[in-house]
Assembly symmetry: C2
């Protein structure tokens, strides 16, 4: 297995997710990243969070989050609240409309993925989880310049 093959295969995974995201977008008018933001907000106290919180959760650039929130706002699924404690930032909160959409729309994706995950045993799901962990490390751009993976073997030999 060479690095090129790995890259091409990962590209395929990315593509599949993009396609699924666009499919959901067509069906529900919302993308997976947008859905993840709504989901995250629904789990927060008072259904609100700062842009920074969202950025940390979905691990995206501030400008990307800005765009996603903007599009969610246009659809009336989230709203902005001023943050009186820190006027630089603002709170993004889930609207009732957003909560409604969250109740209905994600089932499709959730069901599809659940169906597949259910066909796996607990052990297999654990393996999948650690595989993703390994991939994350393997591809971690921020650490690519640093020393070779230290924890890789730990993860791999832990099964």
């Amino acid at each position: 297995m060479q690095y090129l093959e790995i890259l091409v295969k990962i590209r395929k995974i990315i593509r599949s997710i993009n396609l699924e995201s666009k499919k959901i977008q067509k069906e529900f008018g919302i993308s997976i990243p947008q859905l993840l933001v709504l989901q995250y907000l629904s789990e927060q106290a008072d259904y609100k969070a700062s842009g920074k919180d969202i950025k940390n959760y979905i691990n995206l650039n501030a400008s990307t989050v800005s765009g996603i929130v903007h599009r969610l706002e246009e659809k009336g699924l989230v709203a902005r609240l001023p943050n009186s404690k820190d006027k630089r930032g603002m709170f993004i909160t889930l609207t009732a409309k957003g909560a409604d959409l969250l109740k209905e729309s994600p089932t499709t994706l959730q069901e599809k993925m659940s169906k597949r995950l259910k066909s796996l045993s607990q052990k297999q799901i654990e393996d999948l989880n650690s595989s993703i962990e390994i991939l994350t490390q393997l591809m971690d751009a921020e650490d690519l310049d640093a020393a070779p993976l230290i924890t890789m073997n730990e993860i791999l030999t832990s099964d």
Copy 2:
């Protein structure tokens, strides 16, 4: 492990690859998808291939390939040749400049990934390979509507 966690983790992998791609772009003026196209062309007879071949290799939409080739052409790394046998299509061929760039630029990524892959045993690399295979299947958008994974267990139990 729930589906949301998996999605978020995969998003992180995607992000890492994007970041690495942009880093390479800044350093060498070329992105990973563009690099994959050059690499593919370098392996073909007469260093040429049709847009369709490229599309099949990197698994992207025709319009995406069109854009990538366009940008490679602007940089003088590939050139278009008319296909006299089929005037609808055209051949894309690697230029000398493209071959030069290929010789120098990818080493960085290649070295980085190789360094990491070398820290793994053959068995571990095989595991990684099958993990990617499983992920590919798990996320395969085209098959998401079809029956639950049939080959999943086969792959998983084959190790």
